[in-house]
Amino acid sequence: MVFSSVVFLYIFLPIMLLIYFLVPKRFKNLVMIISSFIFFAWGEIRYIPIMLILAVMDFWCGNKINKFWEDKKKKRFYLWLDVGVNLLILFFFKYADFIISSINGITGLNIPLLHIPLPIGVSFNTFQSLSYIIDVYRGTVKCEKSFYNYLTYTTLFPQIIAGPIVRYETVDEELVDKKISLDNFSLGMKRFIVGLGKKVLIANNVGALWNVIETGAFGEMTVLLSWVGIISFALQIYFDFSGYSDMAIGLAKIFGMNFDENFNYPYISKSITEFWRRWHITLGSWFRDYIYIPLGGNRKGLPKQIRNILIVWALTRSMAWSIMEFCALGTIFWCYFNNREIVFTESIR
């Protein structure tokens, strides 16, 4: 189900909100969990059990880490166990067929491909799980004692399509105490409408323009037409992603939760460095905080720094394919800038 669909706007959302506002406080998370499951079921129902298993895994490992706080070895074991399982599932969905076809290609075997569709949310779910378990390990957040609340966090549906990535520390209080008010409802709804407009009125239409230009002959293209193409494409991916983020932030606000901002006028950036900080902010900071800096960032000498940059480059590249599967071309553009950006930033410093 997408936010711009009739089913979502006129059936799913009104029913869900009605129930959500009517039930007593302690049941609100339950309404969110159930509606998230219905939301995912519309895309790929088979992913739900996996999601549940992952949630149990994260929750259990988080508590184990808390229990063995003094025992460094055990603590580390549970961290890697959870990270490993999460990554394994992500890579299974993303690369199983790729690996099978490679094996077939090399050995001449004929193992049938699995043709598993990539369920929506699998990447973002992984990002959220990893940020939780790593933060618990580092001690920056307390581990969640209630599985009910943790499940609410890990299944939150508004941001699952395109972000923003919600870290546990952003919402841990609101999982228990939601700030529901008429003001928040109105602000959230306005934000949602703005996002919907960005997506449907702007992104889809400039996207159609880009499609027309893109399918034409590149050789015969005039300079002006090329520029119109580039501009329409740039506008399409911006309004698409930021529209989705606005809708997610708006929905969260209606539910009484606050998500982080994800875009901050990226196209006014004066440098590629600045662009990196203004474009899909939560994704960039996720990679910075959980991959680049832990690996040593730029503080362990140039060879390691280049290695770190390359790792992030490879990861953003491969991850991005799944996050932005609905805009594959956008990804290339986006990765190109991300990659350039990191290399660039680091080399001018």
Binding site: S5, V6, V7, Y10, I11, P14, A41, W42, G43, E44, I45, R46, L182, D183, F185, S186, L187, M189, K190, N205, A208, G216
Partner: protein
């Protein structure tokens, strides 16, 4: 305060639309779009897991949205008039008011052709053994014959080539090439409707004329008919699909003479009349059903021609408009549509004393229709 006002206005509009959707009359058939609308899917565990059920719910809600027709028109107005697109909902908007449906010729179609050709060859062999000639006519579509009127940069595969290949591979039939004749006539006057996927009566005459030459029949000259316009308000299937506003309607006309207006009887699925035309359909949207009473599994026309010849036409709807000419030369003309029948056609031929068989299909349908194979079962 501002938030309160927003809340009040927003909620009013939102709830109003939700209620309207809920109470909106649920149509079964859309006259405008000429198609059955989605029904509430039946729930089963299997269909739920496969996603079929929820997709069905999606379709149902989309098909019964309040003011749906107005939205469709608005959308096409935006796409075509404002954005200047030359296509809406897979229909190209060509020059001179012509609309065309996209024509695709890929692997799936090639596969289907093979199966259809095999069935026809097999059937024709059975006919040959009984000394009954089998004629085969593949009629090209408007998008090919009128390809000079397509929007810029839209290419259409050569249907002439496709027809030639099909003819080469079909055995035991007498194949009739009508494309060149249609193209030639089309330079003088339109042989297709502009808003519908069928040929008009001028096109039908060309096909009839060419058919007569091969079948050794005396074609009735066009001057011996009176051209009668039965409607000037015909907006066909392409128009329904594209949902355009201000589309100029087509003229619906027939060629009448003593023989085709004065037949013995016409037996259709649900009724028996004394005409190959049905004026009731001129009132509704689906005016092409004026010819041969629309889609019937079987239509038998008994004429006052006394020559003992009985023609079986195995066909799609392109043959309906041919009825007015075919009944000039046969005592009986039987039309069978494999899409709606489920019996062995060879037996039918024997039981009804058929003397000639004609396969008549349009290319686009022949490529996709999977029912042709049923005739040998």
């Amino acid at each position: 305060m501002k938030n309160k006002i927003f809340f009040a206005i927003f909620m009013t509009i939102w709830i109003l639309i939700i209620i309207l959707n809920f109470i909106w009359p649920k149509q079964v058939f859309s006259e405008e779009e000429n198609r059955m609308l989605a029904t509430i899917p039946r729930f089963s565990f299997a269909s739920f897991v496969s996603g079929e059920y929820l997709n069905g719910v999606n379709d149902y809600i989309n098909d019964h949205f309040a003011f749906r027709d107005i939205y469709l028109k608005l959308n096409s107005w935006w796409e075509v008039k404002v954005m200047g697109k030359k296509e809406n909902n897979d229909v190209y908007i060509g020059d001179e008011g012509y609309l065309f449906e996209k024509f695709e010729y890929g692997e799936e179609e090639k596969q289907n052709i093979e199966e259809n050709v095999a069935s026809i060859s097999q059937f024709a062999q059975v006919m040959q053994e009984q000394k009954i000639p089998t004629y085969f006519v593949l009629v090209p579509n408007s998008i090919y014959v009128n390809r000079d009127k397509l929007p810029k940069n839209v290419e259409v595969p050569s249907q002439k080539e496709i027809i030639r290949t099909v003819y080469q591979n079909t055995e035991n039939t007498k194949n009739i090439e009508v494309t060149s004749a249609l193209e030639q006539e089309n330079r003088q006057k339109p042989v297709y409707f502009k808003t519908d996927h069928h040929m008009n009566s001028d096109g039908a005459y060309v096909v009839y004329n060419t058919f007569c030459t091969t079948a050794n029949l005396q074609a009735v000259p066009i001057q011996d008919f009176t051209k009668v316009t039965v409607s000037n308000e015909f907006l066909g299937t392409f128009d329904s699909k594209a949902q355009l506003i201000n589309q100029v309607p087509d003229e619906l006309f027939v060629y009448e003479n003593e023989t085709n207006t004065n037949i013995e009887e016409a037996i259709y699925d649900r009724e028996t009349t004394d005409s190959i035309f049905n004026a009731e359909y001129l009132e509704g949207k689906d005016k092409y059903s004026y010819f041969l009473n629309g889609n019937n599994s079987r239509a038998i026309i008994k004429t006052k021609v006394n020559n003992g010849r009985k023609l079986l036409v195995i066909k799609d709807s392109y043959a309906h408009i041919m009825a007015q000419f075919l009944c000039e030369n046969y005592e009986e003309v039987h039309f069978l549509d494999p899409r709606y029948t489920n019996f062995n056609y060879a037996e039918y031929v024997q039981e009804n004393g058929i003397t000639d068989v004609l396969f008549l299909y349009n290319v686009s349908n022949f490529l996709t229709d999977t029912n042709v194979t049923k005739i040998m079962k």
